[in-house]
Protein backbone atom coordinates (compact mmCIF):
# COMPACT_ATOMS: atom_id res chain seq x y z
CA UNK A 1 0.00 0.00 0.00
CA UNK A 2 2.81 2.39 0.89
CA UNK A 3 4.45 1.99 -2.52
CA UNK A 4 1.21 2.62 -4.38
CA UNK A 5 0.40 5.62 -2.19
CA UNK A 6 3.80 7.21 -2.81
CA UNK A 7 3.63 6.56 -6.54
CA UNK A 8 0.14 8.02 -6.86
CA UNK A 9 0.99 11.18 -4.92
CA UNK A 10 4.03 11.58 -7.16
CA UNK A 11 1.93 10.93 -10.27
CA UNK A 12 -0.60 13.60 -9.21
CA UNK A 13 2.16 16.16 -9.33
CA UNK A 14 4.07 14.85 -12.33
CA UNK A 15 0.87 14.63 -14.39
CA UNK A 16 0.02 18.18 -13.23
CA UNK A 17 -3.48 17.10 -12.19
CA UNK A 18 -2.62 18.12 -8.64
CA UNK A 19 -1.61 21.62 -9.76
CA UNK A 20 -4.76 22.10 -11.79
CA UNK A 21 -6.89 20.74 -9.00
CA UNK A 22 -5.27 22.93 -6.37
CA UNK A 23 -5.32 26.03 -8.57
CA UNK A 24 -9.01 25.70 -9.44
CA UNK A 25 -9.85 24.88 -5.85
CA UNK A 26 -8.01 27.95 -4.58
CA UNK A 27 -9.48 30.25 -7.23
CA UNK A 28 -13.04 29.32 -6.32
CA UNK A 29 -12.57 29.16 -2.56
CA UNK A 30 -10.62 32.44 -2.67
CA UNK A 31 -13.34 34.06 -4.72
CA UNK A 32 -16.04 33.08 -2.24
CA UNK A 33 -13.81 33.99 0.69
CA UNK A 34 -13.42 37.48 -0.74
CA UNK A 35 -17.13 37.75 -1.44
CA UNK A 36 -18.36 36.37 1.91
CA UNK A 37 -15.76 37.68 4.31
CA UNK A 38 -13.42 40.33 3.00
CA UNK A 39 -16.02 42.34 1.08
CA UNK A 40 -18.60 42.40 3.88
CA UNK A 41 -16.12 42.39 6.78
CA UNK A 42 -17.37 39.16 8.40
CA UNK A 43 -15.31 36.51 10.22
CA UNK A 44 -17.99 33.86 9.76
CA UNK A 45 -16.48 31.25 7.43
CA UNK A 46 -19.57 29.04 7.17
CA UNK A 47 -20.44 30.58 3.79
CA UNK A 48 -17.05 29.57 2.42
CA UNK A 49 -17.45 26.09 3.81
CA UNK A 50 -20.81 25.54 2.17
CA UNK A 51 -19.37 26.57 -1.19
CA UNK A 52 -16.47 24.15 -0.65
CA UNK A 53 -19.06 21.39 -0.73
CA UNK A 54 -20.15 22.40 -4.24
CA UNK A 55 -16.60 22.89 -5.43
CA UNK A 56 -15.83 19.36 -4.23
CA UNK A 57 -18.67 17.88 -6.26
CA UNK A 58 -17.02 19.14 -9.44
CA UNK A 59 -13.37 18.82 -8.54
CA UNK A 60 -13.12 15.49 -6.73
CA UNK A 61 -14.01 13.46 -9.85
CA UNK A 62 -11.16 15.26 -11.64
CA UNK A 63 -8.88 14.03 -8.90
CA UNK A 64 -10.07 10.43 -9.01
CA UNK A 65 -10.79 10.00 -12.72
CA UNK A 66 -7.50 8.55 -13.83
CA UNK A 67 -6.67 6.49 -10.74
CA UNK A 68 -8.00 3.20 -12.09
CA UNK A 69 -9.18 4.00 -15.61
CA UNK A 70 -5.66 4.87 -16.71
CA UNK A 71 -4.26 1.67 -15.19
CA UNK A 72 -6.72 -0.33 -17.20
CA UNK A 73 -6.06 1.56 -20.41
CA UNK A 74 -2.27 1.34 -20.16
CA UNK A 75 -2.48 -2.28 -18.97
CA UNK A 76 -0.42 -1.37 -15.91
CA UNK A 77 -3.03 -2.90 -13.63
CA UNK A 78 -1.64 -6.26 -14.69
CA UNK A 79 1.56 -5.33 -12.89
CA UNK A 80 -0.30 -4.35 -9.75
CA UNK A 81 -2.61 -7.35 -9.72
CA UNK A 82 0.23 -9.84 -10.17
CA UNK A 83 2.39 -8.21 -7.52
CA UNK A 84 2.37 -9.60 -3.99
CA UNK A 85 -0.07 -7.01 -2.64
CA UNK A 86 -3.68 -7.36 -1.59
CA UNK A 87 -6.53 -5.72 -3.49
CA UNK A 88 -7.32 -3.72 -0.35
CA UNK A 89 -3.77 -2.39 -0.39
CA UNK A 90 -4.07 -1.32 -4.03
CA UNK A 91 -7.42 0.42 -3.56
CA UNK A 92 -6.52 2.10 -0.27
CA UNK A 93 -3.12 3.25 -1.55
CA UNK A 94 -4.84 5.12 -4.35
CA UNK A 95 -7.64 6.30 -2.09
CA UNK A 96 -5.33 7.88 0.47
CA UNK A 97 -3.22 9.47 -2.26
CA UNK A 98 -6.30 11.32 -3.56
CA UNK A 99 -7.34 12.16 -0.01
CA UNK A 100 -3.92 13.65 0.67
CA UNK A 101 -4.25 16.05 -2.25
CA UNK A 102 -7.74 16.96 -1.11
CA UNK A 103 -6.54 17.67 2.45
CA UNK A 104 -3.78 19.88 1.07
CA UNK A 105 -6.41 21.80 -0.89
CA UNK A 106 -8.81 22.21 2.01
CA UNK A 107 -6.07 23.27 4.43
CA UNK A 108 -6.10 26.67 2.69
CA UNK A 109 -8.92 27.42 5.13
CA UNK A 110 -6.37 27.99 7.91
CA UNK A 111 -4.78 30.77 5.89
CA UNK A 112 -8.19 32.37 5.50
CA UNK A 113 -8.72 32.01 9.25
CA UNK A 114 -5.36 33.59 9.91
CA UNK A 115 -6.13 36.55 7.62
CA UNK A 116 -9.44 37.08 9.38
CA UNK A 117 -7.86 36.82 12.82
CA UNK A 118 -5.83 39.92 11.99
CA UNK A 119 -9.03 41.94 11.82
CA UNK A 120 -11.34 40.28 14.30
CA UNK A 121 -12.12 37.19 16.39
CA UNK A 122 -12.34 33.88 14.59
CA UNK A 123 -14.33 30.96 16.06
CA UNK A 124 -11.45 28.51 15.72
CA UNK A 125 -13.32 25.58 17.22
CA UNK A 126 -16.12 25.91 14.65
CA UNK A 127 -13.49 26.26 11.97
CA UNK A 128 -11.83 23.03 13.06
CA UNK A 129 -15.14 21.20 13.11
CA UNK A 130 -15.92 22.55 9.66
CA UNK A 131 -12.48 21.51 8.44
CA UNK A 132 -13.08 18.01 9.74
CA UNK A 133 -16.52 17.98 8.11
CA UNK A 134 -15.25 18.93 4.65
CA UNK A 135 -12.53 16.28 4.92
CA UNK A 136 -15.18 13.71 5.87
CA UNK A 137 -17.31 14.73 2.90
CA UNK A 138 -14.22 14.56 0.72
CA UNK A 139 -13.33 11.09 1.96
CA UNK A 140 -16.82 9.86 1.06
CA UNK A 141 -16.77 11.60 -2.34
CA UNK A 142 -13.30 10.32 -3.21
CA UNK A 143 -14.43 6.75 -2.48
CA UNK A 144 -17.37 7.25 -4.87
CA UNK A 145 -15.13 8.79 -7.54
CA UNK A 146 -12.59 5.99 -7.18
CA UNK A 147 -15.32 3.39 -7.55
CA UNK A 148 -16.51 4.99 -10.78
CA UNK A 149 -12.96 5.18 -12.08
CA UNK A 150 -12.64 1.42 -11.57
CA UNK A 151 -15.65 0.81 -13.82
CA UNK A 152 -14.29 2.38 -16.99
CA UNK A 153 -11.07 2.74 -18.91
CA UNK A 154 -11.88 6.22 -20.13
CA UNK A 155 -10.86 9.11 -17.92
CA UNK A 156 -13.49 11.43 -19.33
CA UNK A 157 -16.27 8.93 -18.64
CA UNK A 158 -14.93 8.49 -15.12
CA UNK A 159 -14.90 12.25 -14.52
CA UNK A 160 -18.36 12.94 -15.91
CA UNK A 161 -19.82 9.85 -14.26
CA UNK A 162 -18.30 10.97 -10.98
CA UNK A 163 -19.71 14.48 -11.24
CA UNK A 164 -23.16 13.13 -12.10
CA UNK A 165 -23.12 10.69 -9.18
CA UNK A 166 -21.94 13.25 -6.67
CA UNK A 167 -24.47 15.77 -7.94
CA UNK A 168 -27.16 13.15 -7.50
CA UNK A 169 -26.05 12.55 -3.93
CA UNK A 170 -26.45 16.28 -3.40
CA UNK A 171 -29.83 16.33 -5.12
CA UNK A 172 -31.24 13.83 -2.63
CA UNK A 173 -32.27 16.93 -0.64
CA UNK A 174 -34.15 18.45 -3.52
CA UNK A 175 -35.94 15.18 -4.18
CA UNK A 176 -36.73 14.82 -0.48
CA UNK A 177 -38.35 18.25 -0.35
CA UNK A 178 -40.84 17.15 -3.03
CA UNK A 179 -41.64 13.77 -1.50
CA UNK A 180 -44.93 13.83 0.41
CA UNK A 181 -44.62 10.41 2.08
CA UNK A 182 -43.31 11.01 5.57
CA UNK A 183 -41.15 7.95 6.15
CA UNK A 184 -39.59 8.20 2.69
CA UNK A 185 -38.89 11.88 3.15
CA UNK A 186 -37.17 11.35 6.50
CA UNK A 187 -35.18 8.47 5.04
CA UNK A 188 -34.00 10.67 2.18
CA UNK A 189 -33.05 13.44 4.56
CA UNK A 190 -31.09 10.90 6.59
CA UNK A 191 -29.19 9.91 3.47
CA UNK A 192 -28.57 13.51 2.51
CA UNK A 193 -24.93 14.49 2.25
CA UNK A 194 -25.65 18.18 2.24
CA UNK A 195 -28.04 18.41 5.23
CA UNK A 196 -25.51 16.67 7.42
CA UNK A 197 -22.76 18.92 6.14
CA UNK A 198 -24.92 22.00 6.62
CA UNK A 199 -25.26 21.11 10.32
CA UNK A 200 -21.49 21.26 10.61
CA UNK A 201 -21.29 24.67 8.98
CA UNK A 202 -23.82 25.86 11.56
CA UNK A 203 -21.49 24.66 14.28
CA UNK A 204 -23.29 21.45 15.22
CA UNK A 205 -20.95 18.48 15.65
CA UNK A 206 -22.99 15.33 15.12
CA UNK A 207 -21.23 12.01 15.66
CA UNK A 208 -23.76 10.08 13.59
CA UNK A 209 -22.87 12.28 10.62
CA UNK A 210 -19.20 11.47 11.09
CA UNK A 211 -20.10 7.78 11.02
CA UNK A 212 -22.32 8.34 7.99
CA UNK A 213 -19.48 9.80 5.92
CA UNK A 214 -16.96 7.26 7.11
CA UNK A 215 -19.23 4.33 6.35
CA UNK A 216 -19.92 5.72 2.86
CA UNK A 217 -16.17 5.84 2.29
CA UNK A 218 -15.71 2.28 3.54
CA UNK A 219 -18.65 1.01 1.53
CA UNK A 220 -17.48 2.44 -1.78
CA UNK A 221 -13.90 1.32 -1.26
CA UNK A 222 -15.31 -2.12 -0.62
CA UNK A 223 -17.28 -1.89 -3.87
CA UNK A 224 -14.09 -0.98 -5.73
CA UNK A 225 -12.35 -4.04 -4.34
CA UNK A 226 -15.33 -6.12 -5.46
CA UNK A 227 -15.04 -4.73 -8.99
CA UNK A 228 -11.53 -6.18 -9.20
CA UNK A 229 -12.52 -9.43 -7.53
CA UNK A 230 -15.36 -9.81 -9.98
CA UNK A 231 -13.18 -9.09 -12.99
CA UNK A 232 -10.67 -11.66 -11.84
CA UNK A 233 -13.29 -14.32 -11.36
CA UNK A 234 -15.38 -13.70 -14.46
Amino acid sequence: MGAIYRREVGAFFSSSIAYIFLAVFYIFSGFFFTLNNIAVGSTNLSGVFSTLFFISIFLIPILTMRLFSEEKKQRTEQGLLTAPVSLNGIVLGKYFAALTIFVIAVSIIFIYGFILSLYGTVAWLTLFANYLAIILVGSAFIAVGLFISSLTENQLVAAIGGIVCLAMLFLIDVVASFVKIDWLQSLLYDLSFYTRYYEFTCGIFNLSSVLFYLSTAVLFNFFTVRVFEKRRWS
Partner: protein, 319 residues
Protein backbone atom coordinates in the same frame (compact mmCIF):
# COMPACT_ATOMS: atom_id res chain seq x y z
CA UNK B 1 8.82 -25.38 -9.38
CA UNK B 2 5.44 -25.01 -11.03
CA UNK B 3 2.74 -27.63 -10.98
CA UNK B 4 -0.36 -27.21 -13.07
CA UNK B 5 -3.20 -29.64 -12.60
CA UNK B 6 -6.26 -29.80 -14.87
CA UNK B 7 -6.31 -26.05 -15.34
CA UNK B 8 -9.39 -24.83 -17.21
CA UNK B 9 -10.64 -21.38 -18.11
CA UNK B 10 -13.97 -20.58 -19.71
CA UNK B 11 -14.88 -17.20 -21.07
CA UNK B 12 -18.61 -17.57 -21.24
CA UNK B 13 -19.14 -20.55 -23.52
CA UNK B 14 -15.69 -20.36 -25.00
CA UNK B 15 -13.11 -22.67 -23.52
CA UNK B 16 -9.91 -20.66 -23.68
CA UNK B 17 -7.88 -23.28 -21.82
CA UNK B 18 -9.18 -26.76 -21.45
CA UNK B 19 -7.90 -29.12 -18.78
CA UNK B 20 -4.14 -28.72 -19.13
CA UNK B 21 -1.62 -30.27 -16.74
CA UNK B 22 2.14 -30.00 -16.66
CA UNK B 23 5.06 -29.56 -14.30
CA UNK B 24 8.09 -27.34 -14.63
CA UNK B 25 11.07 -28.30 -12.54
CA UNK B 26 13.55 -25.98 -10.89
CA UNK B 27 16.09 -24.59 -13.31
CA UNK B 28 14.15 -25.66 -16.36
CA UNK B 29 13.25 -23.40 -19.26
CA UNK B 30 9.88 -24.34 -20.63
CA UNK B 31 8.71 -23.03 -23.97
CA UNK B 32 5.07 -22.44 -24.55
CA UNK B 33 4.39 -22.66 -28.21
CA UNK B 34 1.20 -22.08 -30.07
CA UNK B 35 -0.50 -19.96 -32.67
CA UNK B 36 -2.08 -16.68 -31.62
CA UNK B 37 -5.18 -17.24 -29.54
CA UNK B 38 -4.19 -20.76 -28.52
CA UNK B 39 -4.44 -20.00 -24.80
CA UNK B 40 -0.82 -19.19 -23.97
CA UNK B 41 -1.48 -15.81 -22.39
CA UNK B 42 -4.58 -17.05 -20.60
CA UNK B 43 -2.57 -19.85 -19.03
CA UNK B 44 0.14 -17.43 -17.97
CA UNK B 45 -2.41 -15.03 -16.54
CA UNK B 46 -3.83 -17.85 -14.48
CA UNK B 47 -0.40 -18.92 -13.25
CA UNK B 48 0.37 -15.38 -12.11
CA UNK B 49 -2.99 -14.84 -10.43
CA UNK B 50 -4.14 -12.08 -12.76
CA UNK B 51 -7.26 -14.04 -13.59
CA UNK B 52 -8.76 -16.99 -11.82
CA UNK B 53 -9.15 -20.43 -13.29
CA UNK B 54 -12.61 -21.91 -13.81
CA UNK B 55 -11.34 -25.16 -12.36
CA UNK B 56 -8.06 -26.89 -11.67
CA UNK B 57 -5.05 -25.88 -9.67
CA UNK B 58 -1.77 -24.05 -10.16
CA UNK B 59 0.96 -24.43 -7.55
CA UNK B 60 3.99 -22.15 -7.46
CA UNK B 61 6.66 -23.65 -5.24
CA UNK B 62 3.89 -25.67 -3.64
CA UNK B 63 1.68 -22.65 -2.92
CA UNK B 64 -1.74 -22.51 -4.57
CA UNK B 65 -2.09 -19.24 -6.46
CA UNK B 66 -5.75 -18.90 -5.50
CA UNK B 67 -5.45 -19.96 -1.88
CA UNK B 68 -2.48 -17.84 -0.86
CA UNK B 69 -2.10 -15.42 -3.76
CA UNK B 70 0.22 -12.98 -2.01
CA UNK B 71 2.74 -15.64 -1.09
CA UNK B 72 2.54 -17.36 -4.47
CA UNK B 73 2.90 -14.07 -6.32
CA UNK B 74 6.01 -13.22 -4.34
CA UNK B 75 7.74 -16.18 -6.03
CA UNK B 76 6.92 -14.94 -9.53
CA UNK B 77 8.42 -12.37 -11.81
CA UNK B 78 5.96 -11.74 -14.63
CA UNK B 79 6.43 -9.98 -17.91
CA UNK B 80 2.98 -9.74 -19.52
CA UNK B 81 2.45 -9.45 -23.25
CA UNK B 82 2.22 -5.67 -22.88
CA UNK B 83 4.77 -4.61 -20.26
CA UNK B 84 2.98 -2.85 -17.36
CA UNK B 85 4.97 0.38 -17.53
CA UNK B 86 4.00 3.73 -16.08
CA UNK B 87 5.12 5.83 -19.01
CA UNK B 88 5.25 9.09 -17.05
CA UNK B 89 7.98 7.78 -14.76
CA UNK B 90 11.68 7.53 -15.32
CA UNK B 91 13.14 4.05 -15.60
CA UNK B 92 14.79 4.30 -12.21
CA UNK B 93 11.68 5.71 -10.47
CA UNK B 94 9.57 2.95 -11.99
CA UNK B 95 11.90 0.15 -10.94
CA UNK B 96 12.17 1.74 -7.53
CA UNK B 97 8.38 1.65 -7.30
CA UNK B 98 8.32 -2.03 -8.29
CA UNK B 99 11.00 -2.65 -5.68
CA UNK B 100 8.67 -1.23 -3.01
CA UNK B 101 5.61 -2.90 -4.47
CA UNK B 102 7.26 -6.31 -4.26
CA UNK B 103 8.39 -5.55 -0.72
CA UNK B 104 11.94 -6.39 -1.71
CA UNK B 105 14.38 -6.70 1.16
CA UNK B 106 17.59 -6.69 -0.89
CA UNK B 107 19.86 -3.63 -0.74
CA UNK B 108 17.99 -1.13 -2.88
CA UNK B 109 20.55 0.79 -4.91
CA UNK B 110 22.82 -2.16 -5.66
CA UNK B 111 19.97 -4.53 -6.53
CA UNK B 112 18.37 -2.04 -8.91
CA UNK B 113 21.75 -1.40 -10.45
CA UNK B 114 22.34 -5.13 -10.94
CA UNK B 115 18.97 -5.58 -12.60
CA UNK B 116 19.49 -2.57 -14.86
CA UNK B 117 22.96 -3.75 -15.83
CA UNK B 118 21.65 -7.23 -16.58
CA UNK B 119 18.94 -5.85 -18.86
CA UNK B 120 21.26 -3.22 -20.34
CA UNK B 121 19.10 -0.26 -19.47
CA UNK B 122 21.50 1.46 -17.11
CA UNK B 123 22.23 4.15 -19.73
CA UNK B 124 18.56 5.19 -19.84
CA UNK B 125 17.84 5.04 -16.12
CA UNK B 126 16.93 8.72 -15.90
CA UNK B 127 14.81 8.91 -19.01
CA UNK B 128 11.03 8.90 -19.07
CA UNK B 129 9.71 5.53 -20.13
CA UNK B 130 7.39 7.09 -22.73
CA UNK B 131 10.41 8.40 -24.63
CA UNK B 132 12.05 4.99 -24.92
CA UNK B 133 11.97 2.77 -27.98
CA UNK B 134 9.97 -0.44 -28.01
CA UNK B 135 13.07 -2.53 -27.40
CA UNK B 136 14.07 -0.53 -24.36
CA UNK B 137 10.52 -0.64 -23.00
CA UNK B 138 10.53 -4.40 -23.35
CA UNK B 139 13.79 -4.59 -21.44
CA UNK B 140 12.45 -2.34 -18.70
CA UNK B 141 9.52 -4.76 -18.51
CA UNK B 142 11.95 -7.64 -18.14
CA UNK B 143 13.91 -5.73 -15.50
CA UNK B 144 10.69 -5.20 -13.58
CA UNK B 145 10.10 -8.96 -13.58
CA UNK B 146 13.60 -9.61 -12.26
CA UNK B 147 13.27 -7.34 -9.24
CA UNK B 148 13.41 -9.20 -5.94
CA UNK B 149 15.12 -12.06 -7.74
CA UNK B 150 12.04 -14.32 -7.96
CA UNK B 151 12.69 -18.06 -8.37
CA UNK B 152 10.05 -18.31 -11.09
CA UNK B 153 10.00 -16.19 -14.22
CA UNK B 154 7.01 -16.09 -16.52
CA UNK B 155 7.66 -14.25 -19.75
CA UNK B 156 4.91 -13.71 -22.28
CA UNK B 157 6.44 -13.21 -25.72
CA UNK B 158 9.53 -11.44 -24.39
CA UNK B 159 11.13 -10.72 -27.75
CA UNK B 160 8.18 -9.19 -29.57
CA UNK B 161 9.09 -5.90 -31.18
CA UNK B 162 12.82 -6.22 -30.75
CA UNK B 163 15.37 -6.01 -33.53
CA UNK B 164 17.41 -9.14 -34.37
CA UNK B 165 20.40 -8.07 -32.30
CA UNK B 166 18.25 -7.37 -29.27
CA UNK B 167 16.43 -10.67 -29.74
CA UNK B 168 19.71 -12.53 -29.53
CA UNK B 169 20.69 -10.52 -26.45
CA UNK B 170 17.41 -11.24 -24.69
CA UNK B 171 17.66 -14.93 -25.57
CA UNK B 172 21.15 -15.12 -24.16
CA UNK B 173 19.93 -13.36 -21.06
CA UNK B 174 17.01 -15.76 -20.63
CA UNK B 175 19.32 -18.72 -21.09
CA UNK B 176 21.57 -17.32 -18.40
CA UNK B 177 18.63 -16.71 -16.08
CA UNK B 178 17.42 -20.24 -16.72
CA UNK B 179 20.43 -21.62 -14.85
CA UNK B 180 19.05 -20.54 -11.49
CA UNK B 181 15.44 -19.70 -12.23
CA UNK B 182 12.45 -21.67 -13.36
CA UNK B 183 11.37 -20.03 -16.59
CA UNK B 184 8.22 -20.29 -18.65
CA UNK B 185 8.45 -18.53 -21.95
CA UNK B 186 5.78 -18.19 -24.53
CA UNK B 187 6.25 -17.51 -28.17
CA UNK B 188 4.79 -18.19 -31.54
CA UNK B 189 8.26 -18.00 -33.05
CA UNK B 190 9.53 -21.53 -33.22
CA UNK B 191 13.20 -20.89 -33.70
CA UNK B 192 13.17 -18.88 -30.52
CA UNK B 193 11.82 -21.76 -28.48
CA UNK B 194 14.30 -24.08 -30.14
CA UNK B 195 17.18 -21.75 -29.27
CA UNK B 196 16.30 -21.18 -25.65
CA UNK B 197 14.14 -23.89 -24.19
CA UNK B 198 14.91 -27.27 -22.66
CA UNK B 199 11.37 -28.42 -23.06
CA UNK B 200 8.51 -27.47 -25.32
CA UNK B 201 4.79 -27.57 -24.74
CA UNK B 202 2.75 -27.06 -27.85
CA UNK B 203 -0.63 -25.68 -27.05
CA UNK B 204 -3.42 -25.40 -29.55
CA UNK B 205 -7.11 -24.59 -29.09
CA UNK B 206 -6.54 -24.53 -25.33
CA UNK B 207 -5.19 -28.07 -25.06
CA UNK B 208 -1.66 -29.44 -24.93
CA UNK B 209 -0.88 -31.23 -28.16
CA UNK B 210 2.75 -32.07 -27.37
CA UNK B 211 4.99 -31.95 -24.32
CA UNK B 212 8.58 -33.06 -24.86
CA UNK B 213 12.16 -31.87 -25.22
CA UNK B 214 12.93 -30.04 -28.43
CA UNK B 215 15.33 -32.81 -29.55
CA UNK B 216 12.85 -35.58 -28.84
CA UNK B 217 10.20 -33.76 -30.76
CA UNK B 218 12.49 -33.60 -33.79
CA UNK B 219 13.48 -37.23 -33.43
CA UNK B 220 9.89 -38.34 -33.27
CA UNK B 221 9.60 -37.65 -36.92
CA UNK B 222 12.15 -39.72 -38.80
CA UNK B 223 13.62 -37.87 -41.72
CA UNK B 224 15.90 -40.43 -43.38
CA UNK B 225 13.53 -40.82 -46.27
CA UNK B 226 13.64 -37.15 -47.23
CA UNK B 227 16.93 -35.98 -48.64
CA UNK B 228 18.48 -33.26 -50.72
CA UNK B 229 21.17 -34.26 -53.20
CA UNK B 230 23.25 -31.88 -55.33
CA UNK B 231 24.31 -33.89 -58.30
CA UNK B 232 26.51 -32.77 -61.14
CA UNK B 233 24.83 -34.33 -64.13
CA UNK B 234 22.26 -33.82 -66.84
CA UNK B 235 19.08 -32.78 -65.06
CA UNK B 236 16.66 -34.89 -67.09
CA UNK B 237 18.87 -37.96 -66.93
CA UNK B 238 19.35 -37.66 -63.20
CA UNK B 239 15.64 -37.24 -62.63
CA UNK B 240 14.91 -40.27 -64.70
CA UNK B 241 17.52 -42.36 -62.91
CA UNK B 242 16.29 -41.36 -59.48
CA UNK B 243 12.69 -42.07 -60.40
CA UNK B 244 13.75 -45.55 -61.30
CA UNK B 245 14.88 -46.26 -57.72
CA UNK B 246 12.45 -48.44 -55.85
CA UNK B 247 10.24 -46.69 -53.32
CA UNK B 248 10.65 -43.14 -54.54
CA UNK B 249 7.62 -40.98 -53.85
CA UNK B 250 8.65 -37.89 -55.70
CA UNK B 251 11.70 -36.06 -56.89
CA UNK B 252 11.99 -32.41 -57.79
CA UNK B 253 14.78 -30.23 -59.14
CA UNK B 254 13.82 -26.59 -58.94
CA UNK B 255 16.98 -25.07 -57.57
CA UNK B 256 19.87 -24.41 -59.87
CA UNK B 257 22.63 -23.91 -57.37
CA UNK B 258 25.59 -23.71 -59.71
CA UNK B 259 25.62 -23.59 -63.48
CA UNK B 260 23.82 -26.72 -64.70
CA UNK B 261 23.97 -28.24 -61.26
CA UNK B 262 20.69 -28.80 -59.50
CA UNK B 263 19.52 -29.64 -56.00
CA UNK B 264 17.26 -32.64 -56.14
CA UNK B 265 14.65 -32.91 -53.42
CA UNK B 266 13.84 -36.54 -53.03
CA UNK B 267 11.25 -38.19 -50.90
CA UNK B 268 10.95 -41.93 -50.58
CA UNK B 269 8.35 -44.04 -48.87
CA UNK B 270 8.78 -43.77 -45.10
CA UNK B 271 11.32 -46.21 -43.68
CA UNK B 272 13.27 -46.63 -46.89
CA UNK B 273 16.82 -45.33 -46.80
CA UNK B 274 17.74 -44.34 -50.34
CA UNK B 275 21.13 -42.72 -49.75
CA UNK B 276 23.05 -45.78 -50.93
CA UNK B 277 20.89 -46.13 -54.01
CA UNK B 278 21.66 -42.60 -54.99
CA UNK B 279 25.38 -43.20 -54.61
CA UNK B 280 25.04 -46.26 -56.70
CA UNK B 281 23.37 -44.56 -59.63
CA UNK B 282 25.88 -41.72 -59.42
CA UNK B 283 28.75 -44.19 -59.73
CA UNK B 284 27.07 -45.98 -62.60
CA UNK B 285 26.56 -42.75 -64.56
CA UNK B 286 29.79 -41.18 -63.45
CA UNK B 287 28.06 -38.19 -61.85
CA UNK B 288 29.55 -36.33 -58.91
CA UNK B 289 27.56 -35.96 -55.74
CA UNK B 290 28.46 -32.54 -54.40
CA UNK B 291 26.11 -32.61 -51.46
CA UNK B 292 23.87 -35.12 -49.78
CA UNK B 293 21.82 -34.32 -46.70
CA UNK B 294 18.64 -35.32 -45.03
CA UNK B 295 15.95 -32.72 -44.91
CA UNK B 296 15.77 -32.02 -41.20
CA UNK B 297 12.38 -31.47 -39.74
CA UNK B 298 12.41 -28.10 -38.08
CA UNK B 299 10.13 -27.33 -35.19
CA UNK B 300 8.10 -25.49 -37.79
CA UNK B 301 7.33 -28.71 -39.57
CA UNK B 302 6.68 -30.54 -36.34
CA UNK B 303 4.45 -27.77 -35.16
CA UNK B 304 2.45 -27.71 -38.34
CA UNK B 305 2.30 -31.47 -38.38
CA UNK B 306 1.07 -31.66 -34.82
CA UNK B 307 -1.42 -28.81 -34.97
CA UNK B 308 -2.72 -29.80 -38.37
CA UNK B 309 -2.86 -33.44 -37.45
CA UNK B 310 -4.96 -32.38 -34.53
CA UNK B 311 -7.51 -30.53 -36.60
CA UNK B 312 -7.69 -33.39 -39.06
CA UNK B 313 -8.21 -35.75 -36.16
CA UNK B 314 -10.83 -33.50 -34.66
CA UNK B 315 -12.69 -33.31 -37.92
CA UNK B 316 -12.54 -37.05 -38.09
CA UNK B 317 -14.05 -37.31 -34.65
CA UNK B 318 -16.87 -35.03 -35.60
CA UNK B 319 -17.77 -37.29 -38.46
Amino acid sequence: MIEVKNLTKHYGDKKAVNDISFTVNDGEILGFLGPNGAGKSTTMNMLTGYISSTSGQALINGVDILEDPIKAKSFIGYLPEIPPLYVDMTVYAYLNFMFDLKKCKLPRRSHLKDVMTLCKIIDVENRLIKNLSKGYKQRVGLAQALINNPPVLILDEPTVGLDPKQIIEIRTLIKRLGKNHTVILSSHILSEIQAVCDRVIIINHGVISADDTATNLSNKVSTDHRIIARIDGQKAEVLQAIRAIKGIKYVRADMEREKNIYDFEIEAEPGIDIRRDINKIAREHNWDILLLKTMEMTLEDIFLKITMGETVQMKGEEK
